[in-house]
């Protein structure tokens, strides 16, 4: 059922789902036991005329067993859950496998900017590909994401990947994911970030290697005219550099442009040089 609600599109989505199932089985068992005892006792011990309740203090050892045995069994279940949780957590969040490619994810009120290093695999070079509210990645490749925020807290969440991490201004947070399932998935901001929070979405395209190479190629041939435009700066040094960026200040006027039902890009104050939210090479 879980798979049908939201696909498992990353390499570790299955691990997280397994942990959810482990808890569902263990906690579900205790839930059924408790609910069963609950309704059984309500029926069995309902008031009947002429019957009196029993006098049980619960202080004698043979009575206390009814509490201490479940107590110990729950403790054992908790150990399984903790071990499972820490294993999954270690795999997904705590360790960092070496990257095959890195992408920058820059959040701001209320848009996502994604910077792909382009052909040479190096950031802050001429062939960086900057996209807004649209992320492309190559399937079968282990990605590191570098998470930035320009203003307030945001949260980078891809439900299909089971990826979620808060973006914090002044910090660069590194995480990883890998997907073998080409397709299109939602990216959502998952931390309240102002009135545009409800439209701060993006679309993730996991491309097959061929499609991805074609996408790189299409976006690498930069027209010379763009070479001199001041591109939106990727915060190479966030923290100190962040307040200097004009796009980071929402100002009083910008947020009004978030009417009900507008397309996500309409409220994006990002990339003043690019009116259209399509892909654009970062010519610098």
């Amino acid at each position: 059922m879980f798979e049908s609600l939201v696909p498992r599109a990353s390499s570790f989505a299955g691990d997280i789902d397994d942990q959810i199932w482990l808890i569902a089985i263990l906690a579900g068992f205790w839930f059924c036991v408790a609910t069963g005892v609950f309704f059984w006792s309500l029926f069995r011990y309902r008031h009947r005329p002429g019957e009196r309740s029993q006098y049980i203090t619960g202080e004698k050892p043979e009575e206390k067993r009814w509490i201490t045995i479940p107590h110990n069994l729950i403790l054992i279940c908790d150990v399984f859950i903790v071990v499972g949780a820490i294993r999954v957590w270690y795999h997904v969040k705590q360790q960092l496998p070496p990257p095959e490619r890195t992408i920058r994810v820059i959040s701001q009120q209320w848009a996502w900017t994604f910077v792909d290093p382009g052909v040479d695999g190096q950031f802050d070079t001429d062939d960086d590909i900057k996209t807004i509210d649209e992320m492309h990645m190559k399937s079968g490749t282990l990605y590191h994401y570098k998470l930035y925020s320009r203003d307030v807290l945001h949260s980078f969440s891809i439900p299909a990947f089971r990826v979620k991490h808060d973006a914090i201004p002044g910090r660069i947070i590194t995480g990883w994911f890998k997907s073998d399932r080409p397709g299109a998935y939602d990216i959502q901001c998952n931390e309240i970030c102002g009135i545009g929070h409800g439209i701060m979405g993006a679309r993730l395209y996991v491309d097959t290697p061929q499609d991805f190479d074609a996408w790189i190629k299409k976006n690498t041939a930069a027209p010379p005219a763009l070479a001199v435009t001041p591109a939106t700066p990727a915060p190479a040094q966030p923290g100190a550099a962040a307040p200097a960026q004009p796009a980071a200040q929402p100002g009083a006027a910008a947020p009004v442009a978030a009417p009900t039902g507008s397309v996500p890009a309409a409220a994006a104050p990002a990339a003043p040089a690019t009116p259209q939210p399509s892909t654009q090479p970062n010519a610098r």
């Binding site: 906690a27 609910t35 011990y45 206390k64 908790d78 705590q94 009135i195 409800g198």
Partner: protein, 573 residues
């Protein structure tokens, strides 16, 4: 809303000169400036009920928006994105700080503690009055914040900076400081109240009321007050710093000037998680009183309940970062907090088992208060079990800030704040107001509440499993969330909420008519053991005609060899 507001506005009038007061002095002294613990309890109760109506109205408005995005909501109008965030922010704030806290702890703590431990009033009656007045002031400040230019605060009840700290981000330059001021004032009010509760129980118990003879609800309120007092200090300090950031331009939480936004999260959740137990424990205590009376059964393992409550309270100080697993803390921290969070499940589970064991062997009467108490156990079980998914770091990566979380904590907070309060109100109504409530209407209200609650939040579990995120005013903007199946879940939740709200009018009708015309209650209509049932209904000023002496514990029901199946605490034999 209007009643306390005008009441407050009249304070200076009456203080300056009594000649042009609108009410006569007797009314004013009796109802508004009283130091009687019962009257202060009622003041908290009615203020909390009025705030609950506002909080419920907010829930109605934003749920309608979620089910029918963009449509004009009957009774509200179109919900804009900023309205939506204002509504969810203040719904959460009101329901926790101005409904659960005042009703469960302050109202019933004030009403019950002196009556149940057998004394005539709180040890600090004027401090008690001050506590309510500060609370009322905080409620008024919060209500004012909705009507200032740019509207009320809309940065979520957690108020994470930098969004909450700079007007350029949250866009409510007046609403945000007022909201914060209201919350901080409210904390001060409960801090004063808590001092009073703990001191009273320590010093004013009737002769013979040894610690192990204190009714469980009193213990629970005392433990909750201690938890609150121990946890709220860091948050009050943090809130003052946040207020400085907002109005004075300091940079405590501003990363661009060396501040740290995560500092607030730690201060907030260091309070925020114990807060869950601050409201849970009194509700658990209320349930313990009710199930023992109506199962005619001694509380199973009194000491175990007490020790699990204390253990829960202590452990609750070491679990706060499970709210921040993916918030940018050191990932290794998550392992520690997963362990502590799973450990806290054990005392709580044990408490539930104790209550189940109390039912076994009883003679259960399904009166309205008993139905509420049982409904609390059933609903809280769902809330508790689903919490494990969120306390386990590995699965929380997926569930963090989804509707699964929303459904989970509503399955804990709704039983606490509403089911627990309804249980307490229906159970102690005869003692509070000297009249009986209507049982038939009470049962209609019970079923009309408990079924829709599940109808609201069970679909939201599914929505959370499908990845719906919180605080999104319209899911139509996200292709994966706009699926018809998920929208059907949201519509089902909203319709259930409307049904739930409709049935609350049954309660209001029952409450008001019973208050005015209900049959007179005897001293002890439920044949209960605890001391409050030996006073008149309602108890006069000073509570007891003759101060009671306690001879035994509070739960001696079904003792073999006695004519009656109950044995009041003060009966000599």
């Amino acid at each position: 809303m209007a009643e306390p507001a005008t009441a407050h506005a009249q304070h200076p009038h009456n203080g300056a000169g009594h000649d042009h007061a609108h009410h006569d002095e007797g009314f004013f002294k009796k109802y508004l400036w009283s130091t009687d613990h019962k009257m202060i309890g009622f003041q908290y109760l009615f203020t909390g009920m009025l705030m609950a109506i506002i909080g419920g109205y907010f829930a109605y408005a934003f749920r309608m928006q979620l089910a029918y995005p963009g449509a004009s909501v009957p009774g509200y109008g179109a919900v804009s994105p900023s309205d939506y965030l204002m509504l969810v922010t203040n719904h959460g704030t009101i329901m926790i700080f101005w409904v659960a806290m005042p009703v469960l702890i302050a109202a019933f703590g004030n009403f019950l503690i002196p009556l149940m431990i057998g004394c005539d009033d709180m040890v600090f009656p004027r401090l008690n009055r001050l506590s309510y007045q500060l609370f009322l002031l905080s409620a008024i400040v919060l209500l004012i914040s909705f009507f200032v230019p740019n509207g009320g605060f809309s940065g979520a009840w957690t108020a994470y900076p930098p969004l909450s700290s700079q007007a350029a981000y949250h866009l409510t330059p007046l609403g945000a400081p007022l909201w914060l001021l209201a919350v901080a004032l409210e904390f001060v009010a409960f801090l004063i109240g808590g001092i009073n509760f703990v001191t009273t129980v320590m010093n004013s118990r009737a002769p013979g009321m040894t610690p192990m003879r204190i009714p469980m609800v009193v213990w629970m309120i005392v433990i909750a007050s201690i938890l609150f007092m121990a946890s709220v200090g860091p948050l009050v300090a943090g809130a003052v710093l946040l207020l400085f950031d907002q109005v004075l331009g300091t940079h405590v939480y501003d990363p661009n000037h060396g501040g740290d936004p995560l500092l607030w999260q730690h201060l907030f959740w260091f309070f925020g998680h114990p807060e869950v137990y601050v409201v849970l424990l009194p509700a658990m205590g209320i349930v313990a009183e009710i199930i023992t009376v109506f199962a005619r059964k001694k509380l199973f393992a009194y000491k175990t309940v007490l020790y699990t409550a204390i253990a829960t309270g202590i452990i609750s100080f070491f679990v706060w970062a499970h709210h921040q697993f993916v918030a940018g803390i050191d990932p290794r921290m998550a392992n520690i907090f997963t362990v502590t969070t799973l450990i806290i499940s054990i005392p709580i589970a044990e408490m539930v088992f104790v209550y189940l064991a109390t039912l076994i062997g009883g003679s259960i009467r399904f009166t309205t208060p008993m139905l509420w108490a049982l409904g609390f156990l059933g609903a809280f079980l769902i809330g508790g079990v689903t919490g494990i998914f969120l306390g386990s770091s590995g699965s929380d990566i997926y569930f963090h800030d989804t509707y699964f979380v929303v459904a989970h904590f509503h399955f804990t907070f709704f039983p606490i704040a509403f089911i627990g309060s309804f249980a307490a109100i229906t159970y102690w109504f005869p003692k509070m107001f000297g009249r009986m409530m209507n049982e038939t209407l009470g049962k209609i209200h019970f079923w009309g509440t408990i079924l829709p609650v599940n109808g609201i939040f069970l679909p939201l579990f599914l929505a959370g499993l499908a990845g719906d995120h919180r605080r999104i005013y319209s899911y139509m903007n996200f292709p994966d969330s706009a699926k018809p199946f998920l929208q059907d879940l949201r519509i089902m939740a909203t319709i259930s909420l409307c049904v739930l709200i409709a049935f609350q009018f049954v309660f209001l009708y029952n409450f008001i008519t019973s208050l005015l015309r209900g049959p007179k209650a005897s001293k002890n209509p439920w044949n209960a053991n605890t001391l409050e049932w030996t006073a008149e209904s309602p108890p006069p000023h000073g509570n007891f005609a003759e101060m009671p002496t306690v001879h035994r514990g509070p739960y001696e029901y079904g003792m073999p060899g006695r004519d009656q199946d109950f044995w009041p605490q003060n009966a000599a034999n």
